[in-house]
Structures are given as structure tokens and as C-alpha cells.
């Protein structure tokens, strides 16, 4: 790999820009492809397909074995509610490779001391979430079980392509929530996207254990979704 190529991939990663590095495995020739951007590079279509599936691999469509290495921007996790569970969840998700943002309009919860090194936004979730514009590489978890805060966040989440939406709360809380969202105009198929009660059923009790259950469910959705 050329130094210049390495520097460019690092710059693209810093700018959170998807890039695919194509390398001819016989000659070592390499070039960068920017999926979903203008331009007509060799193997553009294949690179877009690989980026969409987040799957690197060898293609042979131009008569040579070319390795397409996908460097997608990091997955994102938006946590609504700077509550106790959010603390271990933010740390574990960061270790797993997520870019984590915590949203809570209550400044006492969303303090730097409680979330060192995490992006914390003290705005109402509908505004904050709209600004973050969740995409298909974003997971969203609401943790306040306060409808004033969770519901507006879930409404933005349901209008997005987020690959995972989870909401903390008991079965009773969750069915009341689904009823409210139904009244707000969301259909059964929409609200069925929300995982609630949140997390895999592993009997989690402590905040950290619940964070494990939530992150495990997010991983399941990410990796086992029908291709």
C-alpha cells in the first residue's frame, strides 16, 4: 500500500466517509472507490454492493482477482436517557466499535462526569435526533421510560432507517407505549420494529448486565438480519 493511500483512508475514516480500497492481488495495483458518490471508478458497482453489505471480499469481474476492502464509517448508537444503564452501555458499545451519543435534556443526568469521553447532548430528543439523522448503520435505545422524553425519540427513530430500535420498560409500559404511538399515527408494522422490553432475555439484573443484554440484541439485529 502506498503511503498516500494509507493517509487518504485515514482521512476518510476521520471524516466518517465510506471508502473502499481495491487491490489487485496479482499486481498489487490499488485504487480508492467512494461508494454512493459521483464518479465512475472501476468496480464502482461491486464496491457499492460490498459497502452496503459491509462485507469485504475478492471480486473477479474485471478478469483479475481484486480485493475490495470496505472501510465504512463506524456504526452509531444513540442512547436516549443518561440514566444508570446508559453508563455501562455507552462504554461497552464504544468497545464494540460504535460511535456513541447520549441524549438527555436533564443536565443533571447528562453530565461529563457521568459520561467521560462520550458525546452528550442536553436537548430534547426530537430536535437532537433529527439533527443526528439516524441511518441504516445506527442503533437507537431509549432508557428513560418517561414518555415525555422517550416518545418523541421513538417517533424520529421510527421514521428513520435505523437497524435497531429498543425501548426500556416492562411489558405493561411497552404496550402502553405502543398504544400511544398508534394514536400518533404509526401502524402495527412500524411499532413492531421496537424491541421492548429491551434486550435479550438473559435474566439481566444490574445496569451492566442489562447493558450486555441490550448490546447483545443490537449485535443480533446487525449480524443476523436477513441479507
Amino acid at each position: 500500500m502506498k503511503d498516500a493511500t494509507l493517509q487518504q483512508v485515514l482521512a476518510d475514516q476521520a471524516a466518517k466517509r465510506a471508502v473502499v480500497l481495491a487491490t489487485d492481488l496479482a499486481s498489487g495495483e490499488e485504487w480508492l472507490i467512494y461508494p454512493f458518490e459521483a464518479g465512475d471508478d472501476r468496480l464502482k458497482k461491486e464496491a457499492e454492493d460490498a459497502a452496503r453489505r459491509d462485507k469485504s471480499g475478492v471480486v473477479e469481474t474485471i478478469g483479475a482477482k481484486v480485493f475490495l476492502n470496505v472501510y465504512n464509517p463506524p456504526l452509531r448508537l444513540i442512547i436516549v436517557g443518561a440514566v444508570h444503564i446508559a453508563q455501562p452501555l455507552a462504554r461497552m458499545a464504544a468497545m464494540t466499535g460504535y460511535d456513541v451519543t447520549v441524549i438527555d435534556p436533564r443536565a443533571a443526568f447528562a453530565s461529563e462526569e457521568r459520561f467521560p469521553g462520550v458525546t452528550v447532548i442536553t436537548e430534547w430528543p426530537d430536535d437532537a435526533m433529527t439533527a443526528l439523522s439516524p441511518d441504516a448503520r445506527t442503533a437507537i435505545v431509549t432508557l428513560t421510560h418517561d414518555p415525555k422524553i422517550d416518545d418523541p425519540a421513538l417517533e424520529v427513530a421510527l421514521r428513520s432507517a435505523a437497524f435497531y430500535i429498543g425501548a426500556l420498560g416492562s411489558k405493561k409500559t411497552h404496550s402502553a407505549r405502543l398504544h400511544r404511538l398508534g394514536e400518533a399515527g404509526f401502524g402495527d408494522n412500524d411499532v413492531a420494529r421496537i424491541c421492548g422490553p429491551v434486550g435479550l432475555a438473559i435474566g439481566a439484573k444490574s445496569p451492566a448486565e442489562i447493558a450486555v443484554a441490550v448490546l447483545a440484541q443490537i449485535t443480533e439485529r446487525l449480524r443476523q438480519s436477513p441479507a
Binding site: 500500500m1 502506498k2 503511503d3 494509507l6 493517509q7 483512508v9 485515514l10 475514516q13 487491490t23 492481488l25 498489487g28 459491509d54 462485507k55 469485504s56 471480499g57 475478492v58 480485493f67 476492502n69 470496505v70 472501510y71 465504512n72 463506524p74 456504526l75 468497545m95 464494540t96 466499535g97
Partner: protein, 107 residues
């Protein structure tokens, strides 16, 4: 792709910035069970220090050796490791999978 805890490319750039010879190894194909997915990378400097992984630790030694050779001669290498490969008996992929690793100099 999922981020590694070690950022291999950043390490490669840091070593290059310090004037070191550097080689990059990338898993380009896997068959059967293999511990690290396609796209996994390992970077090695000219003293044999490495960051990242291309397996669960089974073939790193052999890959680092080839990386050092690539730093010296500048040639790319496409290495096969697996149960059908004689080398497997030496370096051993305990999982029974096969991987193909591309090794290149960064310069």
C-alpha cells in the same frame, strides 16, 4: 466493517511517520470456520513488532515473518493457510478453517 480495538491503519501510519519499514497483512478470503473475518488486518514494523490479527493467534508468527520479508524486497505475497496446506501442520489452524492473507509493504 467493525472497528478493531487496535487501529491497525493508524499504527501503520505512525510507524511510517517514524521512518520505519512497515508491512500490512489482510485476510482476503476465508473458507469454513475461521477466527477472523475477511478484511481483518495486521501491521508489522521492521523490528517484528505487530498490532492487529489475522487469526486467533495460530498463524500470526508466519505472517509476521512474511511481512518482514515484504519490507525487505517490496514484493506482495498471497499466503494460504489451512488444513490442506502442508504449512498448516507447522503453523496450524486449530479451527480447521482456511484463510488467504495478502501481505504488502507500505511505502
Amino acid at each position: 466493517m467493525t472497528a478493531d480495538l487496535d487501529n491497525v491503519l493508524e499504527q501503520a501510519a505512525a510507524w511510517r511517520g517514524a521512518g520505519k519499514g512497515v508491512a500490512l497483512a489482510t485476510v482476503v478470503t476465508t473458507w469454513g470456520s475461521s477466527p477472523r473475518p475477511v478484511g481483518s488486518q495486521l501491521v508489522v514494523d521492521d523490528s517484528g513488532k505487530f498490532v492487529g490479527s489475522v487469526s486467533g493467534g495460530c498463524i500470526e508468527g508466519a505472517v509476521v515473518e512474511q511481512g518482514l520479508a515484504a519490507i525487505k524486497d517490496g514484493k506482495t505475497r498471497l499466503l494460504d493457510f489451512g488444513v490442506t496446506n502442508e504449512q498448516a501442520w507447522e503453523v496450524g489452524l486449530a479451527c480447521g478453517g482456511k484463510v488467504q492473507v495478502f501481505v504488502e509493504r507500505v511505502a
